[in-house]
Symmetry: C2
Subunit: 448 residues, 2 copies
């Protein structure tokens, strides 16, 4: 039976979801707060580029868009670490040929919207800011931001794909009992900066890597763009000894970058303009439950599980939500109560796991990637992987193994870490590699 | 300098706060959502009686009300445990003469409001439901529930003493950046029931105890009232094998009570009416931060830290908030920015600690008070306390020692537990009491 489904938010997840639902024959209305990004140049107020990996591609494959996106994606095969002493090192992300992909948020979003609008049973309504959802009656209220008019939409179901500050979720929070909710901010915020292409249009650093300048309590990262530039992001505490509040004028900004990122700042001619113009944005983790209301309303993507960006899994997790929801529709058909319930039961532990993985990876990126002991653990893990082709590190499980859930990957990673820690504590572990002691630990790790 | 201060909520904490602020010379307006409980018989929608202990009395002493309240309070010197096999046991809460006090929520609230209204610089506005606070301009919006009129109040400062679902807090959450927030519900809910007085007006059980029927995953408790009755509260999961959803009709309710609480049900003639009439209420823990906005707005009591009722510390903690705020006013005078900041820094760790203590005590009450190993630990602790008069158990620190913070008490309790566990693991520990092994553990515990 064809349903009239409203989706609040035509960002990455809302747009992809509309395609999945339309392919199942439903009639979909997408309501987007912003104007059409294909017609107006707007900043999404969010990161400019993102890391797409296998879980995300799986979502795109279902929509028939994977090849289109691969054409506008830049593979990053590893981390290029820029150490404090000016030296660099490189850590591959996976095996030969395995990569995560730098993509433009706007680029993917526009392709998704183009495809959605090409389908006769999807319509996108721009400039529609959601103010409220009547859960029982599945009527959503909007303000048309271009005219100020109030609009009420009546549907059979409502999906909230409306991001970290989801109005749909707020309606669930304020209108239902027993809604568990948390929003937790990091002490760190971020600001985007630019390394432009060289005069000849070429990349000024290795284009096939994610660049990291780990400085323990803060870090700079850079991802490549198709035009030869890199988008850099500074993650830094808001307050304290070394913090955004201390970077108040051009002198302090310049001094900070020259001290901590001399190689990067040499490539950033517009540093001061960018720093003073671009917003300082906060980093929040949102956890909530339930994600659904009867057979009528469901949250998806950041609205259900906003996470910090440090594992590059926000979009990937949201796309995976769509895939799993579609699987539940395949399984339960028109029994939407079962579809939505199975969806939230399947996804909630994975939302929690990826949130924790993302928080942990911040510490890994800004602190541990510059730490000799961490690098030794990574070397040990790499040798185990080389000698045991079926072994999958936690990173490989999360990034390259969509058939393994985030939750399983997280738990496996915790166990791996305990063994890797013990192995790294053995002096000259590589010399002792084939001793029974070392081999016993490796065998235990492989059995996780 | 005299300030015009608005307090949202004239419940227990809001009323007490108004008295503290009025004594400092400020002009206070209290806005209460409900009608005047002294004129209209209303249910607060909350527990009928509460346990008042030393922290709460400290708050009342500052308002000059401690003696008045002591007159309408019933001391409970210990826990009377009603075991599944029909036997009973008794655990004193503290030393000879130490007690927690069963008081009527409405009774205390009315005395506080009487005192507040007797002061010329306090005015209470009833039927005023807060809809919004403009934080920057300290203007609060209300709807007069009796007329439907919209009212805007302009003040120099606004305190949110408006409970677990605080509208003032919601304004802070939706209008400020970096507001950390969580609301977490238990799987358990509660329902209040009654054991009336005997025909001659006397109490049908020991009036000087808090009665507990611990049944592992659920429990019944009873606190005495001045009229000879007990208010009983059933804490039970909402869903599952044994749960509220299974108690659907008179047969299942009666069977459940006869099976699990035969001695209590014999004293509850109106069980079925009460069960079917009284609401099933949820149990939520709310944590948030910051609790203040500049020198303009602050949260206090449940609005800042709603906790579950199992340590009987909700009111006590809220009253202590008032005492600490008053101390900060004494210290920082008219520098309200410093007053509010020092208040939140001092109180936040204690709000977090009492929240955790309350959650832990639920498990202790419903499960462990019926567990022989727990009872052994309690006996060991009691003997240590008897032999070392300066020793304070975690319970004594929380309940009888207002000079020790909740946070310190919580941390001490964690350490005590580790030693008590070791002591309880020693077979015949009481026979071996004076051996070096046992004495060494006791000495370590005393040094916590």
């Amino acid at each position: 039976m064809k349903k009239n489904i409203s989706i609040v938010g035509s960002g990455l997840v809302g747009s992809l979801l509309s395609i999945y639902l339309a392919k199942r024959g439903h009639n979909v209305n997408l309501f987007e707060r912003r104007p059409d990004m294909r017609k107006t140049s707007i900043s999404a107020g969010k990161s400019i580029n993102l890391a797409l990996s296998d879980r995300g591609f799986r979502g795109l494959i279902g929509a028939g868009l994977a090849d289109d996106i691969r054409e506008i994606a830049i593979p990053m095969y590893g981390r290029q670490i820029h150490h404090s002493d000016g030296s660099e090192s490189y850590q591959p992300y996976g095996k030969e040929g395995q990569a995560i992909y730098s993509v433009s948020r706007g680029g993917i979003n526009m392709k998704l919207m183009d495809l959605a609008e090409s389908m006769e049973n999807i319509k996108i309504h721009f400039n529609h800011r959601c103010t409220d959802v009547d859960l029982k009656n599945t009527t959503s209220s909007f303000v048309d931001e271009s005219t100020g008019a109030a609009i009420v939409d009546k549907a059979d179901m409502v999906f909230g794909a409306d991001g970290a500050f989801s109005p749909v979720r707020m309606s669930m929070m304020t209108k239902t009992d027993s809604f568990n909710y948390s929003q937790t901010y990091l002490e760190h915020a971020y600001k985007e900066l630019v390394i432009p292409p060289a005069a000849d249009g070429s990349f000024q650093m290795n284009k096939n890597a994610l660049h990291i300048w780990p400085r323990k309590s803060f870090m700079l990262i850079a991802l490549p763009n198709l035009d030869g530039s890199f988008t850099c992001t500074l993650f830094l505490e808001l307050k304290g000894e070394v913090s955004f509040e201390k970077l108040k004028d051009d002198e302090s900004i310049t001094a900070f970058f020259k001290q901590h990122f001399p190689d990067a700042v040499a490539l950033m001619p517009s540093l001061l303009t960018d720093f003073n113009t671009n917003p300082t944005s906060l980093l929040v983790t949102v956890r909530c439950y339930p994600w659904t209301y009867q057979d009528k309303v469901a949250l998806i993507g950041d609205a259900a599980h906003a996470i910090v960006p440090f594992f590059g899994q926000g979009m990937n997790c949201g796309f995976e939500d769509c895939v799993v929801l579609d699987e539940m529709i395949a399984q339960f058909g028109e029994d939407w109560q079962s579809v939505l319930n199975a969806y939230q039961i399947a996804r909630k532990p994975n939302g929690d796991a990826v949130a924790q993985l993302a928080l942990n990876n911040f510490i890994e990126m800004r602190d541990k990637t510059g730490d000799p002991k961490f690098l030794l653990r990574k070397k040990i893990e790499a040798r185990i992987a080389a000698e045991n082709p079926s072994f999958l590190s936690m990173y490989a499980q999360v990034t390259f193994s969509p058939h393994i859930t985030y939750d399983s990957a997280y738990k496996a990673g915790q166990k791996h870490d305990a063994y890797l820690e013990q192995l790294a504590d053995i002096p000259n572990v590589f010399d002792l590699w084939n001793t029974p002691q070392v081999q016993a630990l490796i065998q235990s790790l492989l059995l996780v």
